[in-house]
Point group: C2
């Protein structure tokens, strides 16, 4: 059973540079859930991709062009999206900002 | 298989007043995950409670006094917490703000 700390202080958690104006901070997790903060510079992209995990995302700041399946729309602070398992999704950052991604189950691939 | 819309626009989603200076907006869900926005006025409380679901929480805004188990600390924007299954947790809002809660599996009790 994997489990992170329970109190998650942003200032003490490491960032991983993903390139293309994007960096990721794994905040917390257990086997069921992983909470991840993703910061985008303007023009940063999360290329269209899919995975067997369910993903929910909350827009903490910034403006994003979001594609899910064949549909593309704009999302803004306070909005979010749900990517069901194996449904393609991707974002282009229109105005710099931060997305809060939660995955179920844990993204084991992010820990290796 | 339950599933919400995939594009989650805050302006079109209803709020539920929970009393004690707290209101909740269910943003999206499927069987695996539920994404919930919770707004607190200063002094608003989420009483100490527990549930079999894993919960991850991100502080979108505001300052909160957070208790997990027997430990109480302050969390601020950008921070978060992980509440493992059946571990007691609760918050007191010190400065008005919004928490982004994600549960796994879905909180069926929130839909009834």
């Amino acid at each position: 059973m994997k489990q992170s700390h329970k109190f998650l202080y942003s200032a003490f958690l490491p960032w991983t540079d993903l390139g293309n104006g994007v960096r990721r901070q794994i905040m917390g997790y257990n086997d069921d859930i992983m909470l991840v903060k993703v910061e985008f510079k303007e023009g940063g992209t999360g290329a269209l991709h899919q995975h067997p995990h369910t993903q929910s995302t909350f827009v903490a700041s910034g403006i994003f062009e979001l594609t899910i399946g064949k549909e593309t729309r704009i999302i803004k602070p306070g909005d979010g999206f749900l990517a069901p398992p194996n449904v393609a999704h991707g974002v282009v950052c229109i105005e710099k900002g931060t997305l809060i991604d939660t995955f179920s189950p844990i993204r084991e691939d992010f820990l290796t």
